[in-house]
């Protein structure tokens, strides 16, 4: 995948993910409708490839106003990756030197890889995760399960122990999938399935679309490095 192709694919997927999020904000509050209405228009310009790179610059500026409005990311980790992807893609479009542009886009790929590896590391050093207790607690009392019936999963300790280890091991070995394009694609399919499960069980739909949007960056980075 060429740099230009990967960058274009990332900006389009990201713009579509931001449009999906933006539509959810148009329901109730006037100030949010203004901010997210503007974001949807700018994302539309990105998808249509009109006036590039200025819609991306506008989106980056708007992201500061949205951060100010909510005093932080609206939805934690998913919005953080969305912001990171937006700023990396914007810099990859506006920086004047090719190497700097590659560095900005490559940083997104590196952070995507780290998002899995560090998540696995912080879990495996915690005895509660290694014993399956942490995942049991997520289902038993956390705010995430989308239905009360899912809390019953907390009573299936062997299943949760197996799920905990599957998640930790996958996240930890993810960097090794970058050794070849085939293994990376297989790793990203597994990762996307993991995000899909999180979206279904915990309602984390924004993670699914945002992480998917950043996949072209890591696919390009793999080709660039290996």
């Amino acid at each position: 995948m060429s740099f230009d192709h990967a960058l274009r694919l990332t900006e389009v997927l990201l713009a579509l993910a931001l449009i999906q999020q933006g539509l959810e904000h148009l329901r109730v509050f006037r100030r949010e409708r203004i901010l997210f209405g503007a974001r949807i228009v700018l994302c539309g310009l990105v998808v249509a490839s009109v006036a590039s790179p200025w819609p991306l610059v506008g989106l980056a500026g708007l992201s500061l106003l949205i951060l100010q409005r909510f005093q932080g990311p609206y939805n934690g980790g998913s919005d953080r990756l969305g912001l990171l992807a937006l700023w990396c893609v914007m810099l990859a479009r506006v920086l004047p030197v090719d190497q700097w542009r590659e560095l900005a886009f490559g940083y997104l790929g590196v952070q995507l890889m780290l998002s899995y590896f560090i998540s696995g590391w912080v879990k495996i050093v915690n005895p509660d995760w290694r014993r399956g207790v942490a995942l049991r607690q997520v289902f038993a009392f956390s705010a995430y399960p989308v239905a009360e019936s899912l809390r019953g999963w907390a009573d299936r300790p062997r299943l949760l122990l197996a799920m905990s280890w599957a998640v930790m091991l996958f996240e930890l070995v993810f960097p090794l999938t970058m050794l070849s394009q085939a293994s990376l694609i297989a790793g990203l399919v597994v990762a996307a399935t993991f995000h899909l499960a999180n979206a279904c069980l915990f309602g984390l739909n924004r993670f699914f679309w945002t992480w998917l949007a950043a996949y072209p960056a890591i696919l390009w980075l793999q080709q660039r490095l290996f």
Partner: protein
């Protein structure tokens, strides 16, 4: 109010420590009263999750999930309010509860909310309770 660049920095240099520790989890509860000084004893959980959800509904939420995402935002607000109370955090919770109550008839005029935290042992503790506000004074536009 934090400046937006300081809020952007953790996104540009992320920590990626998702679910590293499963901390006590907040529930937002609200109560209505006829007067500011009335005793608040009938607390209602704000947006309790449904008993069950079909696979089709779960998949549908991939594309349209505003209320759940707003509830997750309120979890963030609740955690921030307990760590460092701010008018912004309190306003956000009040505004969203009031918006949900806006279409309902026979609603008492004073609204309060509290943040109940559930810990891993199942223990429950109220760590924050907001002073009552007049519903009519809360901007829900």
């Amino acid at each position: 109010m934090a400046n937006p660049f300081s809020l952007l920095l953790p996104a540009l240099i992320p920590s990626w420590n998702f679910f590293d520790v499963i901390a006590a989890s907040p529930r937002v509860e609200y109560a209505l009263a006829d007067s500011r000084d009335a005793a608040l004893d009938a607390w209602t959980e704000f947006r309790p999750r449904p008993q069950s959800l079909s696979p089709a509904a779960m998949l549908g939420r991939l594309l349209w999930n505003p209320r759940w995402n707003e509830s997750l935002y309120l979890v963030s607000c609740a955690e921030r309010l307990v760590e460092e109370p701010t008018a912004h955090g309190e306003d956000e919770v009040f505004r969203r509860i009031a918006a949900d109550l806006a279409g309902r008839a026979d609603v008492a005029p004073w609204l309060s909310f509290r943040l109940l935290f559930v810990d891993p042992t199942g223990g429950r503790e109220v760590l924050y309770q907001a002073a009552p506000r007049l519903l009519a004074d809360i901007d829900v536009r």
